[in-house]
C-alpha cells in the first residue's frame, strides 16, 4: 500500500541575493515501502527542503527522487500524498471539520462522516468540530493538521515536526495512534523531528542530517520490536539507540558547539 522512495544524489541550492546557500548536498536515501523514516538534524539542515521535494512542491537541482519508480509530481497530482507542514497551515476561514475535509474536496471524493469524526476523536478534538483555527491553541492546530494529512488515506505521509507544540502526554498518545494506523495500513512515512527519543520510538530508520551544507550523514536502523509501548521507552535498547543518534548528531555539530560555548 505504501510506496517505496529512492533518493539519488539530490542537491538543492538557494540563492539569497548574491550568496548561494546549499540546502541539500548529494543526499542518498532508500526508503522501503511501508516503513517510517525519521529525518533528525539541527535547525536549518534542509529537512523541510527535502520534504518539499518529496511532496513534488519543489525540484532538485541535481539527482533524482523516485516514488515507486515515478516522479513525486505524479503521486501528488493523483492525491496520494498526505502532508502536515511545520506551521500547521490551516485555512483561517474554515472550521476544524472543513479544514480536515480539504484533501477530500480537492480529490473530488467524499468520506463517511463517521470516519472524519473518528479522526477528530483520535486527535482529541471532539467538541471543536466547528471551531475556527484562530480559536485553537498551537498544539490543537497541529493536531488538526495531522488529521488532515491522514484523511485521504495517502500512500506517502510527510510530517514536518507535527508534534512540536504538543505536551508529553498528548504526544505519546498521538505516537501510539500513528503506530496503530500504520499497523492497519502501512503507509510510507517521513517524519521530520528535532527530538531524538521521538525519532527512535517511531522509526524503522533514523536518518541523521548535518548542516552547512545540508546532508545525510548516517542512517541508523532501529530494531526495536513492534508494537512499541510506553514500556519500550524504558528498555535498554531504546536508550542505546538514542545515545547513538545523539552521538552522531553532536559529532557533526562541532561548529555550533563552539559558538554556543559548549566544551568539547
Amino acid at each position: 500500500m505504501g510506496a517505496a522512495i529512492a533518493v539519488r544524489g539530490v542537491t538543492r541550492t538557494f540563492t539569497l541575493g548574491a550568496r548561494s546557500v546549499v540546502a541539500l548536498e548529494a543526499v542518498n536515501l532508500e526508503i522501503p515501502a511501508g516503513t517510517l523514516v525519521s529525518l533528525l538534524g539541527p535547525s536549518g539542515c534542509g529537512k523541510s527542503t527535502l520534504l518539499r521535494l518529496f511532496a513534488g512542491l519543489d525540484k532538485p537541482d541535481g539527482g533524482s527522487i523516485l516514488i515507486d519508480g515515478g516522479d513525486p509530481n505524479e503521486l501528488r497530482a493523483s492525491h496520494r500524498i498526505g502532508v502536515a507542514f511545520q506551521d500547521s497551515s490551516l485555512l483561517p476561514w474554515r472550521s476544524v471539520w472543513s479544514n480536515i475535509c480539504l484533501p477530500l474536496e480537492l480529490a473530488g471524493r467524499t468520506a463517511e462522516r463517521a470516519d472524519i469524526q473518528g479522526l477528530i476523536d483520535m486527535v482529541g478534538l471532539s467538541g471543536f468540530e466547528n471551531a475556527l483555527p484562530a480559536q485553537l491553541s498551537g498544539g490543537m492546530r497541529q493536531r488538526v493538521a495531522i488529521a488532515r494529512a491522514l484523511v485521504a488515506t495517502p500512500s506517502v505521509l510527510l510530517l514536518d515536526e507535527p508534534f512540536g507544540a504538543l505536551d508529553e502526554v498528548v504526544r505519546l498518545h498521538l505516537h501510539l495512534e500513528l503506530q496503530r494506523i500504520r499497523a492497519a495500513r502501512p503507509v510510507t512515512t517521513l517524519l521530520v523531528t528535532h527530538t531524538v527519543s521521538e525519532a527512535v520510538f517511531l522509526s524503522d530508520q533514523v536518518v541523521v542530517m548535518a548542516s552547512r551544507p545540508g546532508r545525510a550523514v548516517r542512517t541508523i536502523a532501529v530494531d526495536l520490536p513492534y508494537p512499541r509501548t510506553p514500556a519500550t521507552l524504558r528498555s535498554a535498547r531504546f536508550h542505546e539507540l538514542c545515545d547513538l543518534c545523539s552521538e552522531v548528531l553532536f559529532s557533526h555539530a562541532s561548529g555550533m558547539a563552539a559558538s554556543t560555548g559548549v566544551q568539547e
Partner: protein
Amino acid sequence: MSSLRQGGRAELLWAVNFVAILLLWQCVGFATGLPGPIAVVHRLKVDGPELYWNAGLSTLRCALPGWVGASAVAAVCAMVATVWPVLAPGIFQLGVMSYCLPSLAIGPVLMIVLDGDGPRIVLAALASFFTMLVGTMTGLRACPPFQTMLVTAFGGTSWQALFKVRLRAAVPSWFAALRISAPASLLGAMIGEFLGAEHGLGVLLINAQQSLDLSRTLTVTLTSAAFAGVLYGVVGIAGHMCTRWARDMPLNLARESEALRVGWANTAQRTEAALLAAGRVIAAVMVALGAWWLALRLSGVTPYVGRSPLDVLHYLTDRTDGAARIGEIVRELGTTLLDMAAGLTGGIGAGLGLAVLSQIWPPLHRLLAGPVFIMQAMPLVATTPLLILLFGRGEAIVVIVGAIVTFFPIFVSVSQSFALTPRSALDLIAANGGGRLAALRKVQVPAALPSLFAALRITVPLSMTGALIAEWLATGRGTGYMLLNAVSMSDYDGLWARVAVTTTVSMVLYGLIGWIELAVGRALTAGRA
C-alpha cells in the same frame, strides 16, 4: 469576556462622540445664526422628507450600477493580473489613470457622449474603480504562500488554488474596498448631477445653493452623508459577517496601492525598472488615446462635439491661434495648480499637525475618532456647495475644499503609522531618557514618511477634483471654470484639450511624488551617514 466589555465601551464612546458633535453643532448654530440640528429637522418637516428621500433614491439608482459594475470589472482585472502576473503592472497603471481622470473634467465629455443616466453611472464607476482594483489585487495577493502550497501538495490544480484559497483569502480586503468605495461612487454620481440632471441629490444641492438657501443646502448635504453612511454601514456589517475569521483591518488605499507599486518595482534591476516604468506609461497613454478614439466611434456621437485626439492636436498646433490657445490653457492651469497647492498645504498641515498632537495628547485621538469616521463615510467633495454658502466665494473656499479632501487620507495614514511603531523602539527611547517628543522626532516621524508620501500620492487626484469644483462653483477662474465655459461656448476642442491636460497633469503629479519621496529619502539617509 474582556472583548465584550471593550466592545460595549467602544460603542459608548461612539455614542458620546455623536451626542457631543450634535451639541457642539447646535451651540455653533446658536452663536452664529447658522442652522443647527433643530433647524435641519424643522426643514425636513417643512419640505417633507419625501423630497430628500426621492432625490437620494435617484442618486442611488445611478451610483449603485456604477459601483457594482466597477467592482465586477475590477474583480475580473485583478483575477487576470493574478493568473498572468506580467499583465499586473499594466492593469494597475490603467487603474491609476482612471483614478487620475478628474471627474469634473471628464463629466462634461460624458454628458456629450452618453445620454440619460449614462454619465452619472460612468462617473460613479470611475470614482470607485481604482479603490476596488487595489482592494481586490491586494486581497488576491494577501494569502500567505503556504495556503496555495497546501492545495498543491494535496494534488489540487491552480484553479482549485484560486477558488478555494485565493478568492476566499481576498474577501476581507475586498469588503474593505467595497466599503470605502461606496461613498466615492455616490460622490461620482453627485458630480454628474452637478453638471446637469433632472433628479438627484446633486441637483437639489446645486439649486439650493444657487438660491442661497442655507438650511436646505445643509439638509441635502446631510442626506447625502446619511445615504453614504448607510451604504458604508451595510457593507461593513455584511463584510464583518462574512469574514469573522479575519482580523478587522480597514483598507488603507494609500498603503496598499503603494505596496502593489513597490512590489513590481523591486522585481527588476533599477535601469530595467525605469525602462519598464517608461514602457508602462507609454502603453497606458496609447491605451488611453485608443480608448478615447474608440469611445467616440462606438458612441456614434457627431464629430462636431466628439473631438478625436488628432482634432485636439490640430487645435493646439493651429498656425494662427495655436500659440494663444496653449498660452491660455497654461495660464489657467497655473491658477489651478496654485489652488491645488493651497489646498494640499492646508490639508497636510492639518493632517500632520493633528496626528502629531494626538500622539502627544492621546485623548485628542479618541475625540477625533468620531469626526474622522464620519468623514470616511462621506462624499467629501459633494459638500462644496455648502462650504461656499458658509465661507463665501473667495480664496478661502479653495483652501478649505482642498484641505478637506487632503486631510483625511493624510491624518489616517500617518496616525496608523504612528500606531504601528514597535513598542520596543519607543521603550528604547524612553530607557535612554527621551520623552514623547524625542520618540516622535527620532522614531515615529521618520518611520511615517513613506505613509505620508503614499497618502499624498492618492490625495493629489482628489485635490485636483476639489480645486476644479471650487473654481467652477465658487471662484470662477482657472481650469475648472474654463472647462465648463468651453461647454457653454460650444468650444468642444477646448473642452477635450483641457480634459487631456488635467488628466495628464494629475498623472504626472502622481508619478512625481514618487521621485520626491526618493529624493527626500536619499537626503535623509545622506544626512545620517
